[in-house]
């Protein structure tokens, strides 16, 4: 049977076509998943307004964690003198209002006169009741690492360290070992009202992620971290490659074959 492409200059030589086909196939397999995301999200993005993507807000722990807006641990709350002192991912809150950033994990919170005292392992932070910082007392000014803190029955502030239990003066400048006969009430974390929890979480992670933003970040690859966009670039390049190699592998006989089929 005579070869119909023998004298056709458009036909790609069969010897070159075979490795190209192999490449076409492998690149297709590798990029399939990303190209699929690229295409589906692209289709959705084209209908942003009609689908109302901007109006839909997602509040999901997994999505929040992808955006880094999910807290690493649930909030911790202490109640003292009618005030809620809360801590969430290095942020301190007083009655649900943001007070301070970069705060270490609190081991207790109590009040002394007008002062609110928040203790961490290696520091005591003093605040006024309006939330303004009075001082951060470093471990060098304390009798040791804090294990617990609270108030004595006489209303004095006390802290427990590895070296023992100490009470201080009103200004928290001098520390003296506490008498064994003193009764202590340690400050303990307790569950806060749900409204407070929600207020803190809202301040921490905002209103949530809009579906438009999520789709756009999936499309651009930004959801996969700083290198995600390169991954989607790779998928797009693969798509171009597949298009070109697919075109190069086109058999000129296809037209002839179809004609033959129809004539039969």
């Amino acid at each position: 049977m005579p070869n119909p492409h023998k004298n056709n200059p458009m036909a790609f030589p069969k010897t070159r076509r075979q490795p190209l086909r192999k490449w076409h196939r492998w690149i297709g397999y590798i990029s399939f998943f990303f190209v699929l995301i690229l295409c589906i999200t692209g289709l959705i993005l084209n209908r942003t307004e009609s689908l109302g993507l901007n109006q839909i807000t997602l509040k999901n722990a997994f999505i929040s964690s992808l955006y880094g807006t999910s807290p690493n641990a649930p909030p911790v709350h202490y109640f003292s003198d009618g005030h809620w002192i809360s801590w969430l991912d290095s942020r301190l809150y007083l009655n649900g209002d943001f007070m301070e950033n970069n705060a270490p994990y609190p081991l207790g919170a109590t009040h002394l006169g007008d002062l609110i005292i928040i203790g961490a392992r290696d520091q005591l932070s003093l605040y006024l009741k309006d939330g303004s910082l009075v001082e951060t007392i470093n471990i060098s000014h304390l009798p040791g690492e804090i294990l617990a803190l609270g108030k004595t029955a006489q209303g004095k502030f006390y802290m427990e360290s590895k070296a023992g239990i100490f009470t201080s003066d009103a200004g928290l400048t001098a520390w003296s070992p506490a008498l064994e006969s003193l009764k202590f009430t340690p400050s303990l974390a307790r569950p806060a009202p749900q409204q407070l929890d929600e207020k803190i979480l809202l301040e921490f992670q905002g209103q949530g992620i809009s579906l438009y933003r999520l789709t756009l970040d999936l499309h651009s690859g930004h959801i996969m971290g700083p290198y995600g966009s390169y991954l989607m670039d790779f998928a797009a390049i693969c798509l171009i490659f597949l298009g070109i190699t697919g075109f190069m592998q086109r058999r000129p006989s296809d037209k002839g074959r179809q004609k033959k089929k129809t004539s039969r």
């Binding site: 492998w26 397999y29 590798i30 998943f33 880094g68 970069n102 006024l128 303004s132 910082l133 009075v134 001082e135 951060t136 007392i137 470093n138 471990i139 060098s140 000014h141 200004g171 400048t173 001098a174 996969m224 971290g225 700083p226 290198y227 991954l231």
Partner: protein, 181 residues
């Protein structure tokens, strides 16, 4: 058929989705620093309240409105030691500053919490602050060379040194006032 799937999975597994590098490094404990500055650590610290004009001046030095209402220091004669926290980029840098006769005699980074710029802890940088005074305009008397890649940390160090010199001056002035009376 298995090769592309393996490739895809390995690509996803080793992909650095979340890069977090914020670790606290303590170079010297505050207690050791204070003890080293004096023959013996003073029993009780002094307290300086930042109120009135002092508050306005500190706000000018730190270029922010939020800062502590009081500062703690240790003193022996004309020498004072200040342990101050100042934010570099996002995290506070704990620095010890020793001042004598209104001149810095030592500045040491005690705790560094940022991911970049810890080079400020080296004496090659911190020794620049030795013998630096505060001018009438509350600026440093000598220019301090920065470190490329640690601009914010070096700026924080300049603020800390200016603040410590200013607070030292206030302490000395408060001390001199009753004597004059």
């Amino acid at each position: 058929m298995y090769l592309p799937i393996t490739l895809l999975l390995s690509l996803l597994l080793f992909f650095p989705f979340h890069l977090r590098a914020n670790e606290q490094t303590e170079y010297l404990s505050t207690d050791t620093y204070i003890s080293a500055a004096f023959v013996q650590k003073p029993a009780t610290p002094g307290i300086l309240w930042a109120t009135g004009d002092i508050r306005t001046d500190i706000a000018t030095i730190l270029r922010r409105k939020k800062f502590p209402l009081r500062y703690r220091y240790y003193r022996q004669g004309n020498r004072t030691v200040w342990i101050l926290n100042e934010i570099g980029k996002v995290m506070p840098i704990t620095t010890g500053v020793t001042i004598e006769d209104r001149k810095i005699i030592d500045l040491t980074v005690l705790i560094y919490r940022e991911s970049h710029g810890s080079e400020i802890r080296f004496p090659a940088y911190s020794n620049q602050f030795n013998n630096v005074e505060l001018t009438k305009k509350r600026r440093l008397s000598k220019p301090i060379n920065g470190i490329s890649g640690a601009t914010l940390s070096t700026n924080a160090m300049k603020k800390v040194s200016r603040l410590a010199l200013y607070l030292h001056k206030i302490v000395m002035e408060e001390d001199a006032q009753p004597a004059q009376k």
